[in-house]
């Protein structure tokens, strides 16, 4: 799993590629989000467009990232959720918790 972090104006975009699964991808995501928050990021977008698989640990990490951001007064939004990842989030009703956008541009603009 790879994560590329880029800055678009005052929004930090985390581009995730591969599997967000136990033992590797989940930890990488945690570190990337933590790094963005520690760096003072207040507006975060996780771009899931190139995620192939997410398991319960990956879902747990998304939830932890969301609550970490919220507890720090930051906002975390999701963009480009692939259908199978969307199914996984829908089954556990988490899709209603996250702020979700079809494109990264829409997610970035939502912070304006």
């Amino acid at each position: 799993m790879k994560i590329n972090t880029k800055q678009v104006g005052n929004v930090t975009v985390l581009e995730v590629e591969g599997k967000i699964t136990i033992g590797a991808g989940d930890l990488a995501l945690r570190q990337a989000v933590q790094q963005a928050l520690d760096g003072g990021g207040q507006n975060l977008v996780i771009d899931l467009g190139r995620v192939t698989t997410i398991d319960s640990s990956g879902v747990g990490e998304l939830v932890s990232s969301y609550t970490s951001a919220t507890n720090r007064g930051a906002k975390l939004k999701l963009a480009r959720i692939p259908p199978k990842v969307n199914d996984v989030l829908t089954i556990t009703q988490l899709i209603t918790v996250f702020d979700v956008y079809d494109t990264v541009d829409e997610a970035v603009r939502s912070f304006a």
């Binding site: 136990i22 033992g23 996984v88 009703q93 918790v97």
Partner: protein, 166 residues
Amino acid sequence: MLDSARGRSPVPDESDEPRVHLAIGSRFENIELVQVVLEDALEGMGVDGDTRHWVGLAVREAVANAIKHGNRQDPGKQVEVDWGVEGHELVVHVRDEGEGFDPDHLGSPLAPENLLRPNGRGIFYMKSFMDTIDYAPGPTGGTEVTLRKRVAGRPAEALGIPQEGQ
């Protein structure tokens, strides 16, 4: 990854039907091996891509639970996985060497107080992706989870099981 896997060999079960058997050390990276071998086998059976994905994800969850909660990530303890076809059902067994497990005490991940918990969704997902999930004490201790799913394609034929009318 492969060094701690004992390998893959078709072994007969009690009904003498061919089954695939894997034994892996309790490391999370070995979950990838199980998923690759399982999904490759399902593809060979003619099982469609969506079903392969969801079965693979369910078995990933079962193996992850066996490694994390059953064997507590002790690499000296093994997780055994085997699968085969019974009628038109794919039947997967995952066994650990842990101290047992009572699934009845799990809270629902959909309960408002649990919705934002970082864990507690694995078994719920397994139940969602498969037809049935059953937990029982393993034959030599530990816990055995049995996952069943009716599969389309030609699973029995692919495994050499005689079909009706043949």
